[in-house]
């Protein structure tokens, strides 16, 4: 390395490495919390198929394209697919999990306020992928 000193480069690399360690540690900690499914969460089976979503609640009720849930409860979603890969996404609640045939993937969420949110497919699944959408309806039974 020519006639110049290298310490600026070492300091810089040190800073970059430190930043990466920090990002990694924060992400690790956040993910650990996010992955921990709360006790007593209600299970909903979410099925993706070309090109709509079906939902089956614990009590056996089924819904197509719409998912009704209640404020303040935790839900564990078991995501499956009947044909090709899809990805179940409620953007407002940062819920994202692929639906892959032959597998059961789980993700959980706990809605905080009453309201409506978009559900969409976020993995290319063919012709109508662009319109494989649904609605999440969060109800407040006390209101």
């Amino acid at each position: 390395m020519g006639g110049h000193s290298n310490w600026p480069e070492w300091i810089y690399i040190g800073v970059v490495v430190a930043l990466m360690v920090w990002v990694g540690a924060e992400a690790w900690e956040a993910e650990r919390l996010v992955e921990h499914v709360p006790e007593g969460a209600e299970t909903i089976i979410v099925t993706g198929q070309q090109w709509f979503w079906t939902f089956e609640h614990e009590d056996g009720t089924k819904e197509i394209g719409e998912l009704h849930v209640e404020v303040g409860k935790a839900y564990k979603l078991e995501i499956v697919s009947k044909d090709v890969n899809h990805s179940f996404n409620i953007h407002d609640y940062v819920v994202l999990m692929d639906a892959i045939p032959g597998r059961v993937n789980t993700v959980w969420f706990a809605p905080t306020d009453a309201g409506e949110h978009d559900i969409q497919c976020r993995e290319y699944c063919g012709l109508i992928h662009y319109n494989m959408r649904g609605k999440l309806i969060v109800e407040d039974p006390t209101a």
């Binding site: 390395m1 020519g2 110049h4 290298n6 600026p8 480069e9 810089y12 690399i13 970059v16 490495v17 990466m20 990002v23 990694g24 924060e26 992400a27 690790w28 956040a30 993910e31 650990r32 996010v34 992955e35 070309q50 044909d83 090709v84 890969n85 990805s87 996404n89 953007h91 407002d92 940062v94 819920v95 994202l96 999990m97 692929d98 892959i100 045939p101 032959g102 597998r103 993937n105 789980t106 978009d118 969409q120 497919c121 976020r122 993995e123 290319y124 699944c125 063919g126 012709l127 109508i128 992928h129 662009y130 319109n131 959408r133």
Partner: protein, 508 residues
């Protein structure tokens, strides 16, 4: 000159030649042709997304086919052949050898590209450039998908042959007086990227074969209905294509290593750290493939391992950026067109890298994955870094190839418009992704923010489109009528330019 337009050679003499500059020229023209074809498809996609509802493309199937062919074309038929072109022209000269190690193999590797490209374009498949099963096994329509698979197999073989040729040329044919530590960084970039190709591409070749037999119904590797696992394909695919992004970006960085010290009129700040960062990148590039798969249901441990592997590649890339900035520091920089493209490319490389760190952090990835954020992110690499580095280098090698000068004003206009356009399109797409717009969608609901962002992106793309027309005009006009270049030092930056002193094409 290679393309001596005053004393033209018949086209077939170039086509059947095996000399490295002729093969380089064939690669160059082919890759630029595909750049314009693939770019036209990009404009069609953007025009369609200007407003919600179906406008100019009309149906979802055609749209899906267009973005599939757009992506496949620009990666496999523009970036890779362009790098091969540069390698063909410069690697033999840089290691002071008369040609590539295997000239005939070199020509064969080039001639596999036209049939591969034809299969992809004529097939017009719709399963995205991932070709993810089970969609690609059970739903993707007939010959289109099979033609795509065959096309990609041919292109894969071509790049493996090319990689062998570069490795042997650099390691075995370099001048005996030259140690490996004196090989210019551009040649080092070809050595590292070729080594990645040799490890990565055969994996994908196997995956494609398995996909093909699955489609024929004789196997069920990836078909859950026959006991297979689609995720296995995702692993094979990303084991190839995550490192492959370094195959694409490393030569572009190598090109910047040629341009930046020259136009800064200073030696590179640290040759050793450049070499080290190349080699490091080509190793850690293999440790991060599954960061594309956080949402497939991986365990917490797996996700953590791949996050660490991904973050490990960041310091290696950051070293290159440091090297460039340190070289330009306090230098008498001459901002001609090639330098502008390189510096612009570094700025966008830095932004793309910062966005990549966000993707690597696993909880954040769930907001960005498979949204327009990702489209914006990787386009900052492919367009902002790789295409910028390549186009800058193209201006730089223009006098070398044609013996003439391009029009400097048009070159600068091309750069400024492309830079503004790139920022408009791809920064906006990051924001669009944060609003939750999924990628690969033909139509979207009329959400006001989505419409506004899409319109900005489309305007940006049109600006790039216009600048590319200026570029084409400049290249065509100047290669015939441009003023003859000073072949000693065409850019007036001091130091010696390469051609035609070091290598003479035998057919002159």
């Amino acid at each position: 000159m290679v393309l001596e337009l005053q004393k033209p050679r018949p086209i077939w003499q170039i086509m059947f030649s095996t000399h490295h500059t002729d093969v380089g020229l064939l690669y160059l023209i082919t890759s630029l042709g595909f750049l314009f074809l693939g770019g036209a498809l990009a404009l069609a996609i953007r025009a369609e997304l200007f407003l919600p509802g179906a406008q100019i493309i009309g149906d979802a199937m055609t749209f899906n086919r267009i973005f599939t062919v757009h992506g496949t074309t620009l990666i496999f038929l523009f970036i890779i052949p362009f790098a091969s072109s540069v390698g063909n022209y410069y690697v033999p000269i840089m290691v002071r050898y008369k040609d590539m190690a295997y000239p005939k193999l070199n020509a064969i590797a080039f001639w596999m590209i036209p049939p591969g490209g034809a299969l992809i374009w004529l097939g017009f498949a719709d399963f995205t450039w991932y070709a993810t099963p089970p969609y690609s096994i059970i739903s993707a329509p007939g010959p289109a998908a099979d033609m795509w698979i065959f096309g990609l197999k041919i292109l894969g073989i071509s790049s493996v042959l090319g990689a062998i040729n570069f490795i042997v040329t650099i390691l075995k044919c370099k001048h005996p007086d030259m140690s490996i530590g004196q090989v210019p960084l551009l040649a080092w970039s070809f050595l590292s990227s070729s080594l990645i190709i040799l490890v990565a591409i055969p994996t994908f070749a196997a995956a494609l074969l398995m996909l093909l037999t699955d489609r024929l119904g004789v196997s069920g590797f990836f078909n859950p209905a026959m006991g297979g696992d689609p995720i296995a394909y995702a692993h094979l695919f990303w084991f190839t294509f995550h490192p492959e992004v370094y195959v694409l970006v490393i030569p572009a960085i190598g090109m910047m290593y040629e341009i930046i010290p020259r136009f800064s009129r200073k030696p590179i700040y640290s040759y050793n750290s450049g070499v080290f960062a190349f080699v490091l990148l080509s190793i850690v590039g293999f440790s991060s493939w599954a960061h594309h798969m956080y949402a497939t249901g991986m365990s917490f441990t797996e996700k953590t391992v791949f996050m660490v592997g991904t973050l490990a590649a960041v310091p290696a890339s950051a070293m290159h950026v440091f090297n460039f900035v340190a070289t330009m520091w306090n230098a008498r920089i001459k901002f001609l067109t090639p330098m502008m493209w390189s510096v612009g490319g570094i700025a966008l490389f830095f932004s793309a890298g910062a966005g990549g760190v966000a993707n690597a952090a696993m909880p954040l990835d769930f907001t960005t994955h498979d949204t327009y954020w990702v489209v914006g992110h990787f386009h900052l690499f492919v367009m902002g870094t790789i295409a910028f580095g390549s186009i800058g280098f193209l201006y730089y090698m223009f006098p070398y190839v044609t013996g003439r000068m391009y029009n400097e004003t048009m070159g600068k206009i091309h750069f400024i418009m492309s830079f503004v356009g790139t920022v408009l399109v791809f920064f906006t797409q990051h924001v669009l992704g944060l609003y939750g717009m999924p990628r690969r969608i033909f139509d979207y609901p009329p959400i006001p923010e989505w419409i506004a962002m899409n319109q900005i992106a489309t305007v940006g793309a049109m600006i790039i489109g216009v600048s590319m027309a200026i570029f084409l005009a400049n290249m065509i006009y100047s290669s015939g009528k441009g003023k003859p270049a000073n072949t000693e030092d065409p850019f007036g930056v001091g130091g010696k330019y390469y051609y035609p002193f070091e290598a003479k094409n035998p057919s002159h």
